[in-house]
């Protein structure tokens, strides 16, 4: 399954419907986001059966970016039972994201 691109209207339902979710806030014009993108794809491959792995384009979904106070991208936010548990701003290695997922599964 590919990483799910979430729109504002479906966001809350998707996050609340997943025990654990990870969301990558990104945009086309952001070089560092392009580096994180394959890492997020890797998370989907490794955890996709247990975790919602999604992305939000901050250009298309201003509201979501503003609601979560995303002020620098890439920002990757982790949710557990619908509530934010952690966020990582900027480029991180796969291991950093995996450790957070493992701690919340």
């Amino acid at each position: 399954m590919a990483v799910k691109a979430l729109k504002t209207a479906e966001f809350d339902g998707a996050i609340q419907g997943s025990h654990v979710a990870v969301v990558d806030f990104w945009a086309d014009w952001c070089g560092p986001c392009k580096m994180v993108s394959p890492v997020i794809d890797g998370l989907e491959k490794a955890y996709g059966d247990r975790v919602l792995v999604a992305k939000v384009n901050v250009d298309d979904e201003h509201e979501l970016a503003a609601r979560f106070g995303v002020s620098s991208i890439p920002t990757v936010i982790f949710f557990r039972d619908g509530a934010e548990v952690e966020r990582k701003i900027g480029v991180q290695t796969a291991g950093v994201y995996q450790a957070i997922l493992e701690a919340n599964l």
């Binding site: 945009a27 086309d28 014009w29 952001c30 070089g31 560092p32 986001c33 392009k34 580096m35 394959p38 890492v39 901050v58 250009d59 970016a65 106070g69 995303v70 002020s71 620098s72 991208i73 920002t75 701003i89 900027g90 480029v91 290695t93 796969a94």
Partner: protein, 272 residues
């Protein structure tokens, strides 16, 4: 596309590394600021470079640049913001682009200036090093640009173009950034501006910011005789490795780093 070697920095060390990668018929990309922003550009006269007594900084840079171009070196103007090692390749973000290479030569010179008070704490919370990355998040809002050269002015114009209200601080002596949880204002040389974001556009990122885990010694990148750092496939040359900060030393180290990086790319590149 993917390169064998990506060189960060277009001064004597970087260009020397690049032509030596080309001498082994490998593909190389040099990422750098415009030549005119090199510290060497300001040198009025260089008297200790063998065979070229009295040459000026601009003359030297132009002739080295021409040599590299003739050798088939590719160039990209911009600043490397992040790097990541993944599956035998280095991924590098340059403004809104990304490139990859089997090996890296770090030849970005010395980063001058310390971090400002508030910079570390508010990084990602309104402090940004990349106007093209984060500018769009601040459309219609007040931002500050702390700039050190023409490329920073261009980035400030880009921000104005997308609707940011820009206060520009040109080469300030000292700044501090205030805010709790997010940026609220910046004060540079006694002048304060209330802003939502501060873009710090320094000419060079500190090597340890670019490469987390990079070993340094006395403020300089630690290298061995092959100019290898402690990170796989990352070599360093020139001023960033330490004193003396001289062109001849940079060119020699660039040669070694270029050869080492090309050899590394042959051994570890993906079928190139």
């Amino acid at each position: 596309m993917s390169y064998d070697v990506l060189v960060i920095g277009g001064g004597p060390a970087g260009l020397s590394a690049a032509i030596n990668v080309r001498a082994r018929n490998k593909q190389v990309l040099v990422v750098s600021n415009p030549m005119e922003e090199s510290p060497l550009w300001k040198a009025e006269q260089i008297d200790n470079y063998l065979g070229l007594p009295g040459v000026t900084g601009p003359e030297m840079l132009r002739v080295m640049h021409r040599h590299a171009q003739a050798a088939g070196v590719e160039f990209r103007e911009g600043k490397v913001l992040n790097t990541m090692h993944m599956e035998n390749a280095w991924y590098v973000s340059i403004g809104s682009d990304m490139e990859s290479a089997a090996a890296i030569v770090l030849a970005g010179g010395v980063s001058r200036g310390k971090k400002f008070p508030g910079e570390e704490e508010l990084l990602g919370k309104g402090v940004s090093y990349c106007a093209t990355c984060d500018g769009m998040l601040y459309r219609g809002r007040p931002v500050a640009v702390v700039g050190y050269g023409d490329s920073a002015r261009k980035e400030a114009s880009f921000l104005e173009g997308i609707g940011c209200k820009v206060t520009y601080f040109h080469r300030p002596g000292s700044c501090s950034i205030q805010g709790s949880g997010k940026v609220e204002s910046i004060t540079c040389d006694g002048k304060t501006a209330a802003v939502d974001c501060v873009f710090l556009l320094r000419p060079t990122m500190a090597p340890t910011e670019l490469f987390p885990g990079l070993a340094v010694e006395g403020g300089y990148v630690k290298v061995d005789r092959r100019m290898a750092t402690n990170l796989p496939g990352v070599f360093a040359a020139g001023d960033c490795t330490g004193l003396p900060l001289q062109v001849a030393k940079a060119v020699g180290e660039g040669l070694v780093a270029g050869q080492s990086a090309a050899a590394y790319a042959v051994q570890n590149g993906q079928g190139r």
